[in-house]
Symmetry: C2
Subunit: 469 residues, 2 copies
């Protein structure tokens, strides 16, 4: 910003100082509650007399932009900020390739658009028959399930089912440590609301799930990252960053990490928890892909006993993304506060209609069989797609033990963002590396969803997009 006094319509030095301060507030160089430069300091910087700055500050205070605090100077008023804009508003196709890009393009795409960049399975991979049976059962259930708000922690029947499933991961917990939420994302959001204040530092993996970045922007958090390796975060860097940056929270997937498909090793998990204890770090472990593992890997929540680890999850990847429901397992005293926070912000947890459908599908014996089939089908599909990608010079960074993502390096050092833009012109949504990268160092990586790559057209588009990039 140029601090020289502006020669505005009335040409005075006072309005010049006022414009300079307004510009700093508009550009967020000065936030609500921030202290304004000292009168002498700004007078010297702008080459005006202190009395000019005093007059400018008084007039800005009369306008309400700033406030004087007795004996301590001037501060930006708490209420002057423009609304929270997470992104610039842009026409759809031309929008910036930012952490919102993949969500927008894939959630709002019509049927004709192919989506190897999306983060969910196609309908014909989901337990359609079980869901239809659950909908028919819903039509016959108690009127209160169809019409009433649910309880503040969510369906007791579904919570009991979840406790059993958590026990299979060696997470022994009780019903007062478990609450249901509107979705997995809402679970993370509630925890962030509970633990974070604007400006707090949060640590994520690099790369990480792009919506962690979008969510943390909404919380006005300072986001830092540590490189992810095939066995979890780079633990030496992790320990170092905890000391130097003192993050309040670390958000990660421990099993089948998004986007890499990597799984944290037991040794990394242990060192990570030791470092977390030394620096009083809280960890959100998002286990959304856990059921895709061929055999269970160790969970941070199991090692830690839900002390400083908060476990979240949902059914969006395995059962239905339409029937929205997530959960949080954590310290009982935190859960109690999180339940209140959910009442205040959503008036209760997930829809009883949703939890009825999910409990129905989970309680019917078909869920295990569905997951067994899904894992087998995905093993084959990952292998086939990896081979076809390799033929194009697109190399998986590792072969995941499970799940539907392949995190790949473009061998030709093409720019993945340019490639995604080119593919979108042909109605194919890709997920370019940098939407997952806080450090913006994944420009020649791409995440592929192997379950969305059976259409031959995708491969033609990929070939052309590789050339275009």
């Amino acid at each position: 910003m140029d601090d020289a006094p502006a020669k505005g319509r009335n040409g005075t030095r006072t309005t010049g100082v006022m414009s300079a301060i307004r510009a700093r507030v508009a550009g967020r160089a000065l936030g609500p509650g921030d202290r304004l430069p000292s009168i002498r300091g700004l007078a010297a910087t702008m080459g005006v007399s202190p009395s000019t700055v005093v007059e400018a500050y008084d007039r800005l205070a009369a306008e309400g932009l700033i406030r004087a605090r007795r004996g301590s100077g001037f501060y930006v008023s708490p209420s002057v900020m423009p609304p929270l804009a997470l992104t610039d508003a842009e026409p759809r196709r031309d929008r910036a390739v930012d952490p919102f890009w993949v969500s927008r393009q894939s959630l709002d795409a019509d049927e004709s658009v192919l989506k190897p960049g999306c983060g969910w399975l196609p309908p014909d991979w989901m337990p359609e028959d079980a869901l239809r049976r659950a909908a028919r059962a819903l039509a016959r259930t108690d009127a209160s399930v169809l019409t009433n708000y649910g309880s503040t922690s969510g369906s007791p029947a579904l919570r009991r089912l979840l406790l059993k499933r958590l026990a299979e991961d060696e997470i022994e917990t009780s019903v007062n440590q478990l609450m249901l939420t509107g979705s997995g994302t809402q679970a993370t959001d509630l925890i962030c609301r509970f633990l974070l204040r604007p400006g707090d530092t949060v640590l994520v993996d690099d790369p990480c799930y792009f919506n962690f970045r979008a969510l943390l922007r909404a919380h006005q958090a300072r986001i830092i990252s540590v490189p992810y390796t095939p066995s979890g975060p780079d633990i030496a860097r992790f320990e170092q960053v905890l000391g130097s940056e003192r993050p309040r929270l670390y958000i990660t997937n421990s099993a089948l990490h998004n986007p890499t498909g990597a799984t944290m090793s037991l040794q990394t998990a242990h060192r990570l928890l030791t470092a977390a204890a030394a620096h009083d770090l809280t960890i959100v472990e998002d286990d959304i892909f856990g059921d895709f593992e061929p055999e269970r890997s160790p969970r941070l929540a199991a090692l830690d006993g839900l002390n400083r680890v908060i476990r979240i999850g949902s059914f969006s990847k395995t059962l239905s993304a339409s029937v929205r429901c997530g959960y949080i397992a954590g310290r009982a005293d935190w859960i109690e506060q999180l339940v209140d926070l959910q009442v205040a912000t959503s008036f209760g947890g997930p829809s009883p209609v949703a939890t009825d459908i999910i409990a129905n599908v989970l309680a019917g014996g078909g869920y295990r069989k569905h997951m067994d089939e899904l894992r087998r089908r995905l093993t084959r599909t990952r292998r086939d797609v990896a081979r076809k990608l390799q033929a194009l010079g697109i190399e998986p960074w590792l072969m995941p033990r499970g799940g539907f993502f392949l995190w790949c390096r473009l061998a030709g050092r093409q720019d993945a963002t340019a490639m995604a833009r080119a593919a979108l012109e042909e109605d194919v949504v890709l997920a370019p590396g940098n939407v997952f990268s806080v450090s913006q160092t994944a420009q020649n990586f791409m995440r592929f969803n192997v379950a969305h790559m059976s259409e031959p057209r995708i491969w033609d588009v990929l070939r052309r997009a590789l050339k275009a990039a």
Copy 2:
């Protein structure tokens, strides 16, 4: 807080200063980012030397509680705050009668508990058959509706139906000014996230819906209120408060206000909007009870043309509180940002399963008939319950034109909170006046839900509770 140096275990003046600062942070007298007292000022206040304060500040900085900013003093670190506690954790029955009290007691009550304090209709007042038909239709719908995330703004079919209904309220708007949300509360919450920063001032009615108070606590807003009259907020006070307090936002119900059942007059609406324009106030108009009106009253959103008024609503009171869905109608540029915010915090809008059910019920011709019947039944029930309450010396503040609430004065000047506590001991949840009152001036008011008062036991309990209070 006592500023005298504490004589702690090591008895030094330095630790005394450190304790004093820690206590101010713990008690939130100093928030994250706040500037600490000047070294000379605190030294004088506490009767210690400036070098003692310097040492205390240096040690607190080494601990991470505070941070030095070059040339501008010491500030509380952004990340030191304890988690956001909206309420004190207490055992269920003994919990404080605060804005969460009615929600907790009525949402988590089991079947044996009677709830004349709750804010929804009993299952047998809801369109049960239509909901069962919609569930059966859901069982036959496209697999993608059952399994996929929805679009970021929510079901186009339901939005088209809503546009028609808004037009009946003389709110002419377009599809890019309308988004669906997870619930009406989530709609308000998204708007608050978008427009508010901690410390911002928000104006509500006195009395107002208790969860507005809970929600605004979660946003760390400064809450102020203006008395509500039978024709809307006391408009002279409203105008005065806008000038003196400069609230950022006003949240209200314009038709069948909760809890009073009053409806804003056209003249009040006009003066209110004129004052809002003069002070650049944004208004959230929650129209959740609008369909209960016998004939439509003027809406702020209609007068204003969705310029500074944001209209929200849901189907929880008329159709189902279990099938969760709300909506926001507002300025197109704000809706675009709110959609992003909803992606970041919920990964999309309401469940497609939910919007499919609601669109199905609304599109079937039965909804109008259901509402006609509901209004007739409520007119009779309001009259009958009012008569029985009057016999106990409980006097409706006004007879509402519609809806299921009666806001009543306890003629004997009993304390409504004590009465609610006594009733809860007998498994009856009441809604005492002060949970609705920012100014805590409604201690001898009570909100009754007439649809939940047919059980004779309620009247026995009321009689005993009146005596106990």
